[in-house]
Symmetry: C2
Subunit: 434 residues, 2 copies
């Protein structure tokens, strides 16, 4: 299997100033091509460290993708390090990238300074893939005979055919250049495919789920691998992978295993692709033309926020009321003072009136509501970590209760995800009944 | 200077399914202690790769921090690799962690299964730092004489004193364990005294801010270092650090520099400690007994969510309305149909009516509202990336307009932060006038 290493260069990463998101996107794209990423490495803006690290990565991998260190300022030294690594004797200007640099600066009403134009100057040992989204070009260094007739191979040897791709560090530019890089890789390497399938589950802890599907897992063929990928907001992703064999045969074998697994998962399973609860709900609503509103208390806007991160959510999401203060529950949602008094603020009755109130105010098909104690402020009826969820719709109003530990930020997320999951199950049930 | 390496273990990172945020947080915490992170590495769930990589990191660094690979399921193999690396001959149960595991499961009304209890079993070569936030303990392996009298050092040698800390991969648990790990590092390594001061700014891009304070920065004494730490939601943190000398003397010298800097920053400065806009606003409101409500459109609940992540926010935050659909703007916020028709949905007039409407509905002292195009759906009046913000309160209603690029998720955050900053400035001005 073709292997790759993904390297990030920049002191700002090593001091924890920014989170490296490029490596994840690049690895995902490589993985989809059946390339196994063996390692991700982040190193600082240090010439010798860059040369040494990239030499090691090229020794151990066919493909090395580097991001960062190509900006116009003084601390960006990747290009010089790549020149040394590849045995470059001189640099030359790339006319196409120079024109792009001038156009970009012109469109921002800036003059092209020397430090800008210098970005279009590259070592003689590389090919350039023009970068239309930014001023730094993508440089490709080919070693040990991976160059085609019209490409200049480096004279440096690593004992096996390999190539290094240097991309800009700005995520927007790095991701913009990625399709061209993948295309170049496909042209120059003989790739064997990987096969993955992902199932999304919500509603059971990792250990309990592992126990539930233990027999099935133990019976998996040795060339099909299972991974548990838990996430607070999206539940546990189950990923089945095969790293060898004919891809269509392997896919069919994985699908056969999934068919055996699905009855064990029941309504824990909410999607057979990598997605989120809010996207899955959005899909259900879009497919059926129904609408949604939200009433929040302890979740403080999180449910509404999650729903509206989905592009196109304005098609089905009408709006929400977050009622932290009791008078707001009464004035905007129509929750009755006596309901609160008789049942407590964190109660099924209050959650139900909230859900019904927002549904009435917005005229939505469905609504979901939360009331709970995210942290220390429990009362005599319910302790911190408890949430009541209500879902209202054409089938009436249903409530549920969940109890977690005492941790504000985590509980806001858990409460929101639990509410979305109750909403999902209600909608599915409602659609099945009609 | 003491050096460290931060390592992440897990196939889910190498295939790009999740973004590694732990490494960034850990590096930042190490950096604040004056420890230089030389490299971050992510490797897969492969026994030999883990052993080889960690051996190399320990050879080159005093401190190695590892996250991931400690879950209860079968694909997590870090513990076995750490056992081999440290020359462990047997495993033993840690009673304190076992009790924590049982308590956590009990609080979730779950039985402690064998695979759960197995998490409290560790190699005999390690010390345990109990992890109160999760079931996997923090394991500390000490090499070459870094162990104190009551600690068991590993018999494996790396030629210099070094230690490896193994943390859970779940971000909440990893970050929860971090303070204890840092404390342990401070006890076992001879770190030079550190002095940091942080200023929080919002409202100016990094390059413009750097230009604005250039003269001041150039005049800083050579032993006082300035770092720019930009963040989408909290603005740019300016951190002044000293890594040598008497800490109380150094602190006084840093404070003197800050006194010179503050007049240059003006109302860009919103706090002299590491905090967030929503916490700074909460502090202002709590101190003065005023209250707040929110009306959101394009930000979809994000502002409300940010405000309610602050513990104790129920003291001043009353509630919000998120009005995605136009009828909801009219019914719940009282925005007039003719205002929308005459000015467009993304307009100062609509933002103002939203802010005034929610303030009236909740009877809050202040309110803030947003209406904008987070992504592709601009109209003939305003393009995607534009938001109108209105703040309403005793001094009347003020509006502002911001324009960013076309990126839904980023714009939701930028819009929310811009609105919070306008709200902060309004409140400050209002308090100064009274």
């Amino acid at each position: 299997m073709t292997t790759a290493s993904v390297c990030t260069i920049g002191d700002e990463i090593l001091i924890g100033q920014i989170v490296d998101t490029n490596s994840s996107h690049i690895s995902r794209a490589l993985n989809e091509q059946g390339i196994r990423v063996t390692r991700m490495v982040s190193i600082g803006d240090d010439h010798q460290a860059i040369v040494d690290q990239l030499r090691e990565e090229l020794t151990n991998n066919e493909i090395v993708i580097v991001t960062g260190g190509l900006g116009p300022t003084k601390d960006d030294i990747t290009k010089k390090a790549l020149g040394e690594l590849s045995g470059s004797r001189y640099e030359l200007g790339n006319l196409e990238q120079r024109r792009i640099v001038c156009n970009i600066l012109h469109s921002r009403s800036l003059d092209a300074l020397d430090i800008n134009l210098q970005q279009a100057v590259v070592p003689d040992t590389c090919e350039v893939i023009p970068n239309r989204k930014g001023t730094a070009p993508v440089m490709v260094f080919r070693f040990d005979g991976t160059a085609s007739a019209d490409n200049k191979p480096s004279s440096v040897r690593f004992g096996h055919p390999c190539a290094l791709y240097s991309l800009p560090g700005v995520p927007f530019e790095a991701l913009g250049a990625l399709p061209d890089v993948i295309q170049d890789i496909r042209r120059h390497f003989d790739l064997s495919p990987i096969c993955h399938r992902t199932l999304m589950t919500y509603g059971m802890a990792e250990s309990a789920l592992a126990k539930k599907i233990e027999q099935w897992e133990d019976s998996l063929p040795s060339d099909i691998h299972l991974a548990y990928l838990p996430n607070q907001l999206t539940g546990i992703r189950l990923r089945l992978s095969s790293y060898s064999g004919d891809p269509s045969v392997q896919e069919a074998r994985i699908l056969a295993q999934i068919d055996r697994l699905k009855p064990l998962l029941g309504d824990l399973l909410y999607a057979e692709e990598d997605t989120t609860l809010e996207s899955a709900i959005g899909q259900l609503l879009r497919d059926t033309g129904h609408t949604l509103s939200v009433a929040e208390s302890c979740t403080g806007g999180m449910i509404s926020h999650l729903l509206t991160t989905v592009p196109g959510s304005s098609e089905y999401y009408l709006g929400s009321v977050t009622s932290y203060a009791m008078p707001v529950k009464e004035s905007l949602l129509g929750v009755k003072a006596e309901t609160i008094k008789a049942n407590g603020i964190v109660s099924a009755a209050v959650a139900a009136e909230m859900a019904e109130g927002v549904r009435k105010a917005t005229l939505s098909t469905y609504s979901v509501a939360t009331t709970g104690w995210a942290d220390a402020y429990g009362d005599e009826r319910e302790s911190a970590g408890t949430v009541r969820v209500a879902v209202s719709g054409p089938e009436g109003t249903r409530t549920a209760r969940f109890n977690y530990r005492n941790d504000r930020k985590r509980n806001i997320e858990r409460f929101a995800a639990s509410a979305l999951n109750e909403l999902r199950k209600y909608i599915l049930n409602s659609l099945n009944n009609n």
